[in-house]
């Protein structure tokens, strides 16, 4: 039950994109088509899930014993970068189409603040349990994917809408993102976690 609560909390109540404003760059950048946004979401999910497990191990068994907790940011970025490289190689081999569609945003997962944010929050909230940390990260990544896919659906419809010329492109996307964020406020207070 606790795991379900952690998952829903990370995915909906404290949605990384719409409540915490993390990972806005790919949210705007790769949300033009639904299949690429889904691919991006899955790539982030894979990176986040594995990274949260590895960072938990590294933090608990390397950084804490040596009293080097202040190194956690650089160590986490290192781990994320490594995983992103692996994901990139995997996609390049097995899904070249998705690899090309994601373009620069794939290596940019390295510096995606949603990933680093989830890893840092894990230390604050769930430094005692590996499983909880992973569930939290997967929940966060699911929330990221959900926001991305919903947003790409809306942008799809927007291309048929009569948008005033000065709002075309990113400006209207930012407005829609703001409205979605307000909609997600409805989840706040549902779970206090």
């Amino acid at each position: 039950m606790e795991f379900i609560l952690i998952f829903i909390s990370a995915a909906l109540v404290n949605n990384f994109v719409l409540s915490r404003s993390l990972g806005i760059c790919p949210f705007i950048g790769v949300s033009k088509r639904m299949d690429t946004s889904l691919g991006m979401g899955l790539a982030v999910t894979a990176v986040m899930a594995v990274a949260s497990a590895i960072t938990h191990v590294v933090y608990t068994f390397v950084l804490v014993p040596f009293e080097l907790e202040f190194l956690h940011i650089i160590a986490f970025v290192l781990i994320t970068a490594c995983l992103v490289q692996v994901v990139e190689m995997y996609l390049k081999k097995n899904s070249p189409a998705l690899y090309r569609a994601l373009g620069i945003f794939l290596p940019l997962i390295t510096t995606n603040c949603a990933v680093l944010g989830a890893l840092l929050l894990n230390i604050d909230l769930f430094s005692d349990s590996l499983l909880r940390a992973v569930v939290h990260a997967v929940g966060a990544a699911t929330g990221f994917t959900l926001a991305l896919v919903l947003f790409s659906g809306i942008r799809d419809r927007m291309s048929y809408a009569p948008i005033p010329k000065i709002f075309e492109g990113v400006p209207i996307a930012m407005m829609v993102a703001g409205l979605m964020s307000i909609a997600f406020l409805g989840f706040s207070g549902m779970i206090s976690l």
Binding site: L63, L68, I74, L78, C82, Q85, Y90
Partner: protein
């Protein structure tokens, strides 16, 4: 000191560990890339200027490789690079001739008639809306308002004696001025050509004599003397074919109006 050693060891160890992991993964997930694509990426300038319209040199290399972009799309590398690219992907492209913009009017404020003194906004596009299409007597002529000079980012256009003159050394043939000129006076011509007809007026002899001391009156003398048959009449206006012209200059010497420039 202890912290420093610990930091170095931990970060170094982590880096080494993940580095080894990555290189193993790299071996496992190796993709074979066509060597032609690799060499395309190698010979491109690598400055990622975006002048080709792609997101960078690598994106351009891939577009060329998959046939989505023309091999001569890179504006930076010049003809030499274009030929190399064409050689790698196995197509023939014609050697591109360097072009330059040319203003087809040499009727400056000494030898052309002005009907009134224009003191409005310094812009041909504003001046051309006045009665008679601007202050110049000749409705085809350059107004010298500097719309082309303003739009040229390469600083290649100067207004000299009331007409626009293009510096062939600085011109990069971006064609921005061609689009902006309200009189459609600017033409792209091979930069190597030295014989140019500096008139675009199609009024015919009588009116041109009133408006301009040097405008082309359509006397056909140049057509007759040209040994290459490179000049043809377009109504009352002589036009030169730059493919045929060998820059001998016979026409410029014979022209009674001195409208053919010999550069």
């Amino acid at each position: 000191m202890n912290t420093l050693v610990g930091t170095l060891m931990v970060l170094g160890g982590l880096g080494l560990f993940f580095g080894v992991l990555l290189s193993l993964a790299g071996l496992k997930l190796k993709t074979r890339v066509d060597p032609r694509l690799e060499s395309l990426k190698d010979i491109l300038p690598g400055v990622n200027c975006g002048g080709c319209g792609c997101a960078g040199c690598n994106a351009f290399a891939e577009d060329v490789y998959f046939g989505k972009a023309e091999p001569d799309g890179c504006p930076v590398g010049g003809d030499e690079l274009n030929q190399k690219i064409a050689g790698i992907i196995g197509v023939e492209i014609a050697s591109a001739v360097r072009k330059t913009a040319y203003v087809k009017c040499i009727g400056n404020d000494r030898n052309a008639l002005f009907l009134f003194n224009y003191q409005g906004v310094e812009s041909c596009r504003a001046a051309v809306r006045l009665v008679g299409g601007g202050s110049k007597g000749c409705t085809y002529g350059c107004l010298g308002g500097g719309s082309c000079k303003k739009i040229c980012v390469f600083d290649a256009i100067n207004i000299i004696d009331g007409i626009a003159v293009i510096d062939n050394e600085k011109c990069t043939a971006c064609t921005a001025c061609v689009a902006v000129c309200p009189k459609n006076l600017i033409e792209m011509i091979p930069a190597a050509s030295t014989i140019r007809i500096g008139c675009n007026a199609r009024d015919g002899g009588k009116i041109i004599r009133q408006n301009c001391e040097i405008g082309c009156i359509g006397c056909r003398l140049c057509v007759k003397v040209c040994p290459k048959d490179a000049i043809e009449m377009d109504g009352a206006l002589a036009r030169i074919s730059y493919e045929k012209c060998d820059n001998c200059g016979t026409c410029a010497d014979k022209c009674s109006r001195r409208v053919i420039e010999k550069g």
